[in-house]
Amino acid sequence: MDFCKEFNARTAHIEPGVPTPTLITVEPDRTFSFITKTPPTTYLLKKTAGIEKGTGRPGHEVTGTISLKHVYEVAKIKAKDAHLKHLKLESIASTVVGTAKSLGLQVVP
């Protein structure tokens, strides 16, 4: 119950329905702490491209097309994460391109 209240309080600024990865750490004396992260890259890419699911055969099937500007904006969102703070935005953008490839999205300049 405590967790639910605290989680709702911390994620009140996010639109309902957006998946929010959370890392919960529970100590032996039942006290807990948790960290919320930015939505998954696949979720953001699927919403931008307007597709429901990625391909079952990446590299062989193409589900949609995405521009480098979309990739830049997604990378900007992901850069807000604590575990990606030390990376250059260029590196984060190349990981987003890799995720788009695995979904079957074609990246076009």
């Binding site: 009140a12 639109e15 957006v18 919403k47 500007k69 830049y72 935005l89 260029e90 990246v107």
Partner: protein
């Protein structure tokens, strides 16, 4: 029949040098015009780096409550490394034992293993 064939061939032989002269004159005129139009189109193409024109709404990226929609900016306002993201990464040659050679050898080894594995399935 044979007389007609002979006459046709003689007519062709008579006309072919005239036709050759005519074509030469035409080609010199047509060469000038496309040069001017090619310069214009290449200058126009160099300006737009992106297929996404500025002002397009990038949907799905405003996941916070009350966030205005994310709009694409003009091409100059994006960092220059963005346009080289899709190009294959070039490693400068450090000489033998350098990073470039290691990457090249690793890629060749991986491709050789894949080829061998494929041949085993045949």
């Amino acid at each position: 029949m044979s007389f007609l064939a002979l006459s046709r061939s003689s007519i062709r032989q008579a006309f072919s040098p005239c036709l050759a002269r005519g074509y030469a004159a035409k080609s010199s005129n047509t060469e000038r015009v496309p040069n001017v139009s090619v310069k214009d189109t290449s200058a126009a193409e160099e300006k737009t780096l992106s297929s996404c024109p500025p002002g397009t709404i990038l949907e799905g990226l405003n996941y916070l409550k009350g966030q205005p929609p994310v709009i694409a900016l003009p091409d100059d306002e994006y960092p220059p490394w963005l346009w080289d993201l899709m190009k294959p990464k070039v490693y400068e040659d450090d000489g033998p034992g350098g990073k470039a050679e290691k990457k090249r050898l690793r890629r060749e080894n991986q491709q050789r293993i894949k080829d061998q594995n494929f041949m085993k399935t045949q």
